[in-house]
């Protein structure tokens, strides 16, 4: 697994207060997935990846892997 992906999973795990999260995990399935988690993810993506995600864009995101793919596609813009 590429280092960048590992680093991303670690950051998401920190926000969700989990030891580990995986690509196929459903974000909305985590008990900690609330408005604070959404805000923390948006802030983290802005600070670390220079990507500004709108809340509406989260609608199409189900898994941690979906989020990573969205970040990658926005980075290429």
């Amino acid at each position: 697994m590429p280092h960048a992906m590992n680093d991303f999973l670690k950051k998401i795990a920190d926000i969700l207060e989990m030891d580990i999260v995986e690509e196929q995990d459903d974000l909305k399935g985590f008990p900690q997935w609330d408005s604070l988690a959404v805000l923390s993810v948006i802030a983290m993506l802005d600070a670390n990846y220079g990507v500004n995600l709108h809340a509406a864009e989260f609608q199409q995101v189900n898994t941690v892997g979906d989020l990573w793919a969205l970040v990658q596609s926005k980075k290429q813009l």
Partner: protein
């Protein structure tokens, strides 16, 4: 859009905060979330104490109390007030204007220009712009800018998105001509296409309040609120601030020919500590130059968080010589506005409790 002004300045700032203090810890049982998550929210956002009015207390009550305080102490002479501008989103009535209510309650006489402006968190900068415009008139020598809201009365206690941060307050700012040849730069933008990010859907003429609009609904995020309540799309607002405000300030400073380092303080609207610190990070401004401690002690009272930031952090300094300050407000509308000005030699810079 940019405006510039010459020979204008702020000469005094007073804030009036309700004595009634609430604490996050006491209220978190109201929310439909695990306690541990609410404690996490408190830690990340910097929520703790806040001040809200008792039932029935209105903006004009706080404003009249504050102005009377200034009259009684000789800090303001009532006959010298030429204009009264009130910026609020929670007027006493739809009509008459609450600025006229304040004028009438204090018996300020007929030779005065009263005006209400419907603006929120950008309202300190927007109000200053209006005050400076009025001061272009020969007959206007002293403008009293009042910012204030009692929106804690319009939020759902079961909405963790917004209830724990709401505070009520009024600020009174005296604006006059400057004897020095000072220059003030301002820059602002508005976007009504994003108007629903911060809205009270019911209670106006579009959707009058009925028993149905008072019913609490879960919109899918575990928060319960009615259409009569103020609602905020928190992540949309966060994004808006992070994207628009650094650009706005950059343009303002570039237009004024001032470097970021030359600014002594950035006094920004404080929705919560988290957003202010993220803004500082993004702009690479040290936290010491951008205070973020208003919400944890008083709550987010809208536009009044700017004067509160001055009073809490810079009261001593601002009563001495000038500082170069950059003000920034952002919120409902959406509206974002910034201003670069010399601030200092204030006759007063303090907060008092409304009993």
């Amino acid at each position: 859009m940019n405006f510039t002004f010459r020979r204008k300045r702020i000469t005094g700032i007073l804030a009036v905060v309700p004595a009634n203090e609430r604490s996050f810890i006491d209220e978190m049982k109201n929310y439909n979330f695990p306690e541990a998550r609410s404690l996490k929210l408190k830690e990340v956002m910097g929520y703790d104490k806040r001040r809200i009015v008792e039932p029935g207390v209105c903006v004009s009550d706080l404003a009249v109390f504050g102005l009377q305080h200034l009259f009684d102490r000789g800090l303001l002479i009532r006959e010298e007030i030429d204009a009264l501008i009130l910026v609020t989103q929670s007027p006493d009535y739809f009509l008459p204007p609450t600025s006229n209510v304040i004028q009438g309650r204090l018996g300020l006489g007929h030779d005065i220009f009263c005006q209400d402006i419907s603006q929120g968190c950008a309202g300190f900068v927007i109000g200053l712009i209006q005050a400076f415009l009025l001061l272009e008139q020969e007959s206007i020598g002293k403008v009293i800018l009042i910012n204030g809201d009692v929106l804690s009365r319009r939020v759902s206690p079961k909405d963790r998105n917004i209830y724990p941060l709401m505070g009520d307050a009024v600020s009174i700012t005296v604006v006059e001509r400057d004897t020095k040849d000072s220059m003030i730069h301002s820059s602002f933008k508005m976007d009504g296409t994003r108007r629903e990010a911060l809205i009270i859907p019911a209670g106006g003429f579009r959707l009058p309040s009925t028993p149905e609009t008072a019913v609490l609904e879960d919109v899918g995020d575990n928060n319960l609120r009615a259409k009569d309540h103020l609602r905020m799309d928190g992540s949309a607002i966060f994004n808006f601030v992070q994207v628009e405000v650094p650009q706005l300030i950059e343009r303002l400073l570039a237009g004024a020919g001032v470097s970021l380092d030359a600014v002594d303080y950035f006094l920004c609207h404080q929705p919560n500590r988290f957003m202010v610190q993220k803004l500082a990070d993004k702009m690479r401004v040290p936290y010491a130059k951008m205070p973020s401690n208003v919400v944890e002690r008083f709550g987010n009272s809208g536009a009044t968080t700017l004067p509160m930031a001055m009073i809490l952090n810079l009261a001593g300094e601002l009563q001495k010589g000038d500082c170069l300050v950059c003000l920034a407000g952002y919120g409902v509308g959406l509206t974002w506005a910034a201003m670069l000005m010399q601030l200092g030699e204030l006759a007063f810079c303090e907060a008092i409790d409304y009993p």
